[in-house]
Symmetry: D3
Subunit: 288 residues, 6 copies
C-alpha cells in the first residue's frame, strides 16, 4: 500500500492485498454467517470510498469470511431488537407520516451504503460461496462481476420476512439479468436458486467446477489480476461509462462517452499500452 | 371468494379459484383457438381491474381454454370484417389524418386493455401451451412469470399480416429478454420458435418435461400457491417496484423504493412473517 | 437495383445483391484483416444512408471480406500515425481544453458513422467470422441480428490500448446482452471470447455447425430472404419501434407505437399480406 | 350537436354550446362555491372523455357556475365525513400498509379524473373568477389556457389542511410557470395571490379590466371561437405535441413530432386552409 | 477570417464579420420577405456547421436582410408547387404508409437543418425585426438569445395552414418561455403578438426603444462583442451545458457538467482570464 | 433548540433561531464579502444535513453576514493558491486524464456540498443583498425561495474567469427562470443584473422597497414564520414533491406523489389542521 494511503479502521471487514493492486475485502462476521447488523453496514461506505481513490488499488475482490456464506443478509435478531429502526414496535407510538419519514431516511442511508460499491471507481468482483441471501443479492448486483462456487445457494429472501427488497435488488436485478420471468419468479417466491441456475439465466458469469470457496477466490484473483494489469484510466472509464449507459438511452450514453473520453484519451496510458504491446512487455502505468 | 367481492360477468374468460387466494383465468374461446375479437378484449380490463383489488386474490394464473392454444392472436376473420376499426376498407373514405386519429384511439384502447394485466397489483403467471401467436406474445410479456408446455409454438406474428406489433410486444419484449439479436430475429421474421428456444433465450423460466397442458397448469399452481402464502403487502410491493424500476434509472428506482417502503414497512405483516417463521407455522395475513 | 437508385462510390466496401431486395455489404480490406482507417469509416455513413432509402433494398447482410476476419478493429498503425486525431503527439502542443474539443468532435463523428447502421431503416444482419475485435463489436451491436461461425474470436479490445470503448459498445452492449456480469467481465479484461460463449450469453443468436465463413453467409441469406419477403412497411416499422422502445420506458414505447402505426396501418400491405396468405401465394409489395 | 353524439348525464356540470363547435362546461354547485365532493369529480372523466371525441366540439370553456367562485376546492365537510376515503378515522383500524394501498388507489383515481382535462384532445380554456382554491389550481393547470377576472383570488391551499397537493398542482405548476421562487412560495405558504400577481408571474395569460365573471367568459368565447375556426387536425395535433414535449427532451419532442405529422400532414385540411386563406373565405373542415 | 477557414458558398445567406470574431448571418431573400424555400434551408446546415468550428468566429448574429422581416416563414407558393414534398397532390398516388415514410424523412431533414443553429458551438443571437412568422419562430427558439425591434410582429402561424408546427417550435417554446397559458394561446390561435408582449412573457430579453432594425443590430453587436471577448472555452462550454441540462434532470445535468469541466478546467484560459482581470487588460485567448 | 439536537461546530456560518422553528444561517466571512474558500464550503453539508433532521427547525433563512454581500463567490486568491485543486499549476505535472479524474472528484464534492441545501427537507429562503456573484447564484438556485434588496447586484460570473459554472447554476437556472433568452444572455456575458431585472424575469419573487439588508431579512422572517406555522409533514412533503417533479415528466411526478402521500396522508396533522382552522386557533404539530 502506498504511504499515506491508509484505509479506515474496520471491525467487520478484512482488507488484504494478495496481489499488487488487487484488494481483497472480506465480510468478516463468519460466526453469524456474515449477517449484517447496523454496525456492519456502517463500515461499508468509508471502506469503499477509500478504495475508490486509493492509488494502490486497481481491482477489488469481495467475499465472505469463513466457508459457509457470502452473507445470509440482515441479521434478523438484530433487526427485531427494540433499537432497530426497522422494528415497528420501536416507532409505533409515532404518527404514521413521521414514522414514514424516519424509515425513508433510514432506507436512503442503507441504500447509499450499498451503492458505495457501485460508485467505487475500481471494478469489484463478488466471489460468492455458501449462502447468499437477501442483502447478499443487493450487494452482489452492485458488484461488477459475479462468480460463485458450485454449491452456492441464493435467494431474494425479503418477501419471506414480509417486505419488498429495498436496498437495490429490485432496481438492479432486472438490469443485470435478461430473463424477466425468472427475475419475477425468484423475487416473488423467495425460493432458493442454485449456482447452475444462476449461471444459466446470467446472474453469474462463472461457476466453480468442484465446489467450495477456494476455487472461486482463485478465479477472482485471476480476473482481478488481469484488470489490474491494464491502464487504470481505461478500466475505471469503462466501469463508469457502462454504469451510466445502463440506466440511460443509447443517445445519452454515446454523448456522455464522447465527453468523458475527450479527457481520458489525452492519457499517456494510450501510448504506453500500445508500445508495451508492441514490445511484448508488461505496461507500467502511473497511479490513479 | 369474499362476500361483496364479485367479479364482472364474462363470456370469454373463465374465472375459478382452484386454491385459496389463487385465481385461474382462462381465455375461453377454445373452438376458435382462443383468438381475440373486439368482444374478447373488451372483457379483459374490468376482469383484471377486479382481480387487482379483490381481497380473495393473491396470485393469478392465466391460460387458454382447451388443449390446443394459449391464443392464436387476433381473429383474422373478425379483423377483416367491415365493422373492424382496423379494416382499411372501413375507414377509407375518411381523410388520412382523421383515420389516423381514429386508429390511434383504437390502438390506445387496445394497449390499455392488455396493460391491465401489467397494472394488476397481484402477480400473474402465464401458463402457456399449444399455439401462442401475435397477441399471445403481447399478453405473455405483460404477465410476471411465463412458463410453457414442451410442445408450445410461439411467433411474433404481426409482420406476416403487414403490420408492426402495436399492443406491447415491441415495447416489452426487449426489456424481458436479454438477447437483442434473437428479439430482432423473431420480430422481423415472424418465424415460429419452440419452447426450448424460448427457455434458452430467457423468454420463459420453466418448460414442461412431458408435453401437454396439464403439467404446465400444475407447475403454475405450485408457483401461485407459494406466492399466495407470502405477505400480500410484500408480494404486491415487489411486483410494483420491479415494474417501476424496469423502465427507469437505478437512481429513480431506488428513491421510489424507499418512498414506497416507508409506508409498506409499517405493516403488521413484517412481524407476522418473522414470528411465523420462527414458530414454524403458516403465516396468516390480513386481506389486501 | 432500381434505376436512379445508385449507391455512392466505395473503395472499402463491396455492395452486391445476391437475392432480390437483399443487399450484401462486405468490409473490403481483407489484406489488413478489414481493419478500419479514417478512410474506411468515412465511407460508412453515405453507404448506409443510401441503403436506408434505396427501394431495391429490404434486408442487408454485413460481413468482412476474405476468410480471416469480420474486422480486427481500428488499424493501430494508422491510429499512431502523426496525422491521426487520436494520436496524442499530434495534438500535444494545444491547450488541454482545446484538444478535448477536437477529440469530442472526432468521437462524435466516428460515433455517428457507426450509428448510421442502427439508423438505417432496413434490418442489418451481421454475419461474423474469424476475428471480431474492438470496433468490430461496436459495429456488431449496431446491427439488428448477429450470427457467427463456430470459430469466431471476439474481444472488446479497447482497454488493451489504454482507452474505454467510445464508439458504441459501452452504450449498446448492456442493452443487447442480458448478463451484466459477463458484459463487465469482457469489457474490463479485454479477453477473447468464443462463438459458443457468445451464443450462451445471448450476444449472437446463431452459431454455425462446421466452422468457416460460408455457412454463416448462407444462414444470413436465409434470414435476409425471409425478411425481404415480408411487407417493407411492417419490417421497417418493427425495427424502428424496437429501437425506440429499447432506450425508453414501456409507457413511452407504447405511445410512440400507436402514433407510428396510425399511419402505418393505413398501408395496402395489410390487405395484401392477409390476402396472399389466404391465397397461399407470395405477397407483392410496393417499393419502400 | 351531431346526432348520436350525446354527452353523459351530469348533475354537477352544465354543458352548453354558446357558439358552433364551442362547448361551455360549468362546474355546477354554486350554492357550495362549486366545491368538489366525490360525486362531483366522478362525473368529470366521462364528460371530458365524451368531449374529447365529440365531433361537435372543437374548443372548450371551463368555468364555475354562479358569480362567486371557479371552485373553492375539496368540500371539507364531505372530506371529513365518516365515509370519505381521505378521513383517517375511517381507515384507522387497518394496517398502515393496507391503508396506504387504499389511499394510493384513491389518489390515483382522483388524479386520473383531473388528468382527463389534459388528455382531452380539444383545447380547454379555464375562465376563472372569484375563488380558485386548492383543487381549483389542480384543475386550472390541466387546462391549456388560463384567463381570469380582475378580482379573482387564488391559493394552493393544501398545506393549510395538513397535506401536500396530490392531484397535480405540484407536478404541473413548475412546468407552466417560469418563476421557481414564486411557485415554492405559494405552495409552501398557502397564501392567497391575486389576478395581477397571477398575470405577472405567468400563471394566467389574460386578466379582465373591470372585474366580474362576464368579461372573462366573453374573452374565453373570443379565444375559443378562433380555435374552433381553425383546422381541427392542426389544433388537436398542436395540443398533443406541446403536451408531449413539455415533459420530455427536445430530441424526443422533435422525433415524436415528425412521426405524428407524417399522418397529420396528409390531411385535406392543409389544402383547405391554404385555399380558403387565398380566397379570403372561412375554411370548412370535416368533423373530428 | 483565418486562412483556410472559408465558409461554404451561400446564395440565400450573407456572412460578414462586422467585428473581430463576430459573425453576422443575414437571411438573404428580402424581396420575398426572407421566406424559405427548399433551396434556402438546404444552405443552413453547412453554414452553421462551418461557423461551429471556424476559429475566426466566437459569437454569431442572425437577422433578416432588408427592413421588413426576419422571415415570414415557409414560402407558401413554393410549398404548394407540384414538386414540394409537403404538397399532398404530389404524393397522393402513393400508399398512405409510404407517403408517411417520405414525409417523416423530409421533416427529419428539415428539423436537422434548423437544429444546426442549436448545435452550433458558438452562441447565436437572433436580432429580429418586422415579420417573424412560422418558421421564424422555429429558428428563433433555436438561437441562444432573442432580441427584437419595437415594431416586430410575431406569430406561430402553422395552424393557419392546417398543420401543427413541426420544425421545433412545439418542442422548444415551452422550454424557453415560462408561461404555459400564453404558449398554448399563441400556438393554438396563430394570433399575432407584439414585441412588448414577447418581452413581458419572456420570449425575447430585449426590445428596441425607437423601432426599426438598426438599433436591434446595434444591440446584437454589443452583446456579441462581449461574448466574443470572453474565453471561447468558457463560452462554448456554457452554451453546451445549458442546452444539455435544459432537457434533463438536475442530477444528470450536474454529472455531465463535472465530466465536461474535468477537461475544460485544464485550459490556459482560466489563468489568462484571472491574470488579465487583475492586470486590467484585455484577455487574449487561443483560437477555438 | 431541542435537547440533544445540537448543530455541528461552524466557523464560517452563524446559526440562530430568531423565531420558534425558524433557523437563520448567515454566511460569515463579511471581511471578505463572504467569499468561499475550501474551508467555507466544507462546513455547508454537515450544517444543512443537521437542519434537515433537526426537529427544532421548520424553515430556514440563508443570508450573508455584514451589509455588503450575500457572497462574491469563490475567493479568487484562495483559488489561485498553490494548494487549490482548481489551480492548473498545482496539477500540471500529472497526466491529463488523471488530472481530469481529480478535478471530477473535486467538482462532484463541491456540487454535493451546494446540493445539501436543495436536499435539506426544510424550506430554505435565500435573503439576498449587496453582491451575489458566481457561487452566490449556484447557492441561490438551490434555495426554495429567493428574495432580495433593491440594490442587490447579481452576476453569473464564471465565464469571466475562463470557465463554465459547474456547481449548479447551469443545471438549475433554466428550470427556475422561464426566460431562456435571458438565461443564456446572463450566463454567456457574465454581465451584472439588478434586483428589478431579477424580479421581472422571475429569478426572485420579492424585492425590497427601500434598499438595504434589513427589510429583506424582515420579509424572509415573515415568510419563514408562515411556513413554520403549517404542518411540517405538509411543508416538507410539498418541497420534496416539487423538487422531484421539476426534473421529471408529469406522469412520473403524479405517481411519485400518490405513493408519497399514501403515508403522509395518514398523519394526525391533517385532522389537527382542519380542526384548528375550524376552531380559529393556532395548530400544534408534533416535531419532525
Amino acid at each position: 500500500m502506498a504511504q499515506g494511503d491508509s484505509p479506515p479502521p474496520c471491525k467487520y471487514f478484512n482488507l488484504t492485498y494478495p496481489l499488487p493492486f488487487v484488494a481483497h475485502v472480506e465480510i468478516n462476521r463468519p460466526e453469524k454467517l456474515n449477517a449484517f447488523t447496523d454496525a456492519v453496514w456502517a463500515e461499508l461506505p468509508p471502506l469503499f470510498s477509500h478504495l475508490s481513490t486509493s492509488p494502490s488499488t486497481r481491482a477489488i475482490i469481495l467475499s465472505g469470511a469463513g466457508t459457509k456464506a457470502f452473507t445470509t443478509g440482515l441479521d434478523v435478531q438484530a433487526f427485531s431488537s427494540p433499537s432497530s429502526a426497522l422494528n415497528p414496535q420501536a416507532t409505533s407510538k409515532l404518527d404514521t407520516a413521521r414514522t414514514a419519514q424516519y424509515l425513508r431516511r433510514h432506507i436512503d442511508d442503507f441504500q447509499a451504503a450499498i451503492t458505495s460499491i457501485e460508485k467505487c471507481s475500481k471494478p469489484v468482483i463478488a466471489a460468492i460461496n455458501g449462502w447468499c441471501l437477501g442483502l447478499g443479492i443487493d450487494i452482489s448486483v452492485c458488484a461488477d462481476v459475479r462468480i460463485c462456487a458450485k454449491d452456492t445457494r441464493f435467494a431474494v429472501k425479503e418477501v419471506d420476512i414480509g417486505l419488498a427488497a429495498d436496498i437495490g435488488t429490485l432496481s438492479r436485478l432486472p438490469k443485470v439479468v435478461g430473463n424477466g420471468s425468472w427475475v419475477k419468479d425468484v423475487c416473488l417466491t423467495a425460493r432458493i436458486f442454485t449456482a447452475s441456475e444462476a449461471e444459466s439465466v446470467g446472474f453469474v458469469s462463472w461457476v466453480g467446477k468442484t465446489g467450495g470457496k477456494e476455487e472461486v477466490i482463485s478465479e477472482a484473483l485471476r480476473i482481478a489480476e488481469v484488470m489490474a494489469s491494464k491502464s487504470p484510466v481505461a478500466v475505471q472509464s469503462t466501469k463508469e461509462l457502462l454504469n451510466w449507459s445502463w440506466s440511460r438511452s443509447v443517445e445519452d450514453g454515446l454523448r456522455y462517452t464522447s465527453v468523458w473520453n475527450s479527457a481520458a484519451l489525452q492519457s499517456e496510458d494510450v501510448m504506453e499500452s500500445v508500445k508495451s504491446g508492441m514490445e511484448k512487455r508488461k505496461a507500467r502505468f502511473a497511479k490513479l
